[in-house]
Symmetry: C2
Subunit: 216 residues, 2 copies
Amino acid sequence: MATESVTDAGRNPRERYRAQVRDEVKRHAWEQIATAGVSALSLNAIAKEMGMSGPALYRYFAGRDELITALIRDAYRSLADTVRAAHEAGTTVVALAAVIREWALSDPQRYLLIYGTPVPGYHAPDDITAISDEILAVLLEVCGGSPDEQPRSPFDVVLGLNRGWAGALPASSPTVHRALSFWTRLQGVLSLELAGHLTPLGFDPGLLLAEEVADL
Amino acid sequence: MATESVTDAGRNPRERYRAQVRDEVKRHAWEQIATAGVSALSLNAIAKEMGMSGPALYRYFAGRDELITALIRDAYRSLADTVRAAHEAGTTVVALAAVIREWALSDPQRYLLIYGTPVPGYHAPDDITAISDEILAVLLEVCGGSPDEQPRSPFDVVLGLNRGWAGALPASSPTVHRALSFWTRLQGVLSLELAGHLTPLGFDPGLLLAEEVADL
DNA sequence: TCATCGCAGTTAGAGGCTCTAACTACAGCT
DNA sequence: AGCTGTAGTTAGAGCCTCTAACTGCGATGA
């Protein structure tokens, strides 16, 4: 499991210890989240589990929100690493979708922490949005076709006029379109599957996902 | 706004009053949810806003969870009514997608209460899953083609072998497949858009959604 | 080597929450 | 007109987050 802090790289023992404790706090936090959701996450409970008394944890995290932000960062990092590894191993869109699905299924609440219900006011810090961009960049590469591909649909044309994000990246409009379709179709299947809305329908969501991303 | 209880139908004044208060509680609850998310929903705060003291609300809702369940029910009911109305007015899949998107955008947290992060243990009561089925049934009708349509893809075949849900409904495998694709693509665009993950990309999600559901 | 200083961890406590228990007082029914 | 059930009250237990003030250990510099 990738963690934000390169734990054992702290020079002085103080920093090493701090990083260790932070990691242990996060481990307990993930456990709580996996079993009862993020709303049940309690600094107090974590402190007790670690054999300390309540406010001690505030030495390590400014508050509940900062802990959650750290968890979100780790989740993004883990997903980005997974996606990048798959890409570097040379993957198809279908295989990539399957890899991401497995990543999500291995810890649904971790996926939902990123792509589930956001708190209305919340705005992620820049270093986190950077990781998100990193993921999208890989998507563009995986969905890339011939560089001089012409627009094929009205939406392609719109994407061509206003390249918004990905302005710098060398991707044709259809490539951007494919990446967007890939991403939204993937999220569609996953968010419904993880929320349990597909279970009663009695089919394998993996099959649906494979076909959804096969014809972009 | 459709509410579960047909407020003014209570026969004796006691029941009428109860229904009125329940509705007022729910109105305040929706306000809180819209501004700060469901995790910030507080019975205590609602009671104060209504000029009563804390525990009074427990006469009307057995607890926080029951209130939330009632809100979920109302949200499903509202969506089902919206979908049904569009269908009865004769709608295309593209138009239906736009209608549902508008419904979601008009109150993002209401959409997210249904399709956002679920609490791990939560299981919706039967009357709520019935509303969900109602929505899916309309989807099948909107996506229906000729009744003797033949399977076109491996997933169609799988759907044909194991009709799971919709066993009773007269829908061909490709119809079921189209409904499923429609539903997952819609959820994909909406969940990303409402969580704010599409905003930085700088394009109109409505356009993407229209093309996504245009070619099923 | 020893004094110092900073940081980990403590308890106390304010203020919020959910929810239960026991009580009061009023409104509707017979 | 009296009875009864129910809406509302306060008190309080037990959670939570987070602040403040204090203690005591361990790393670091003279």
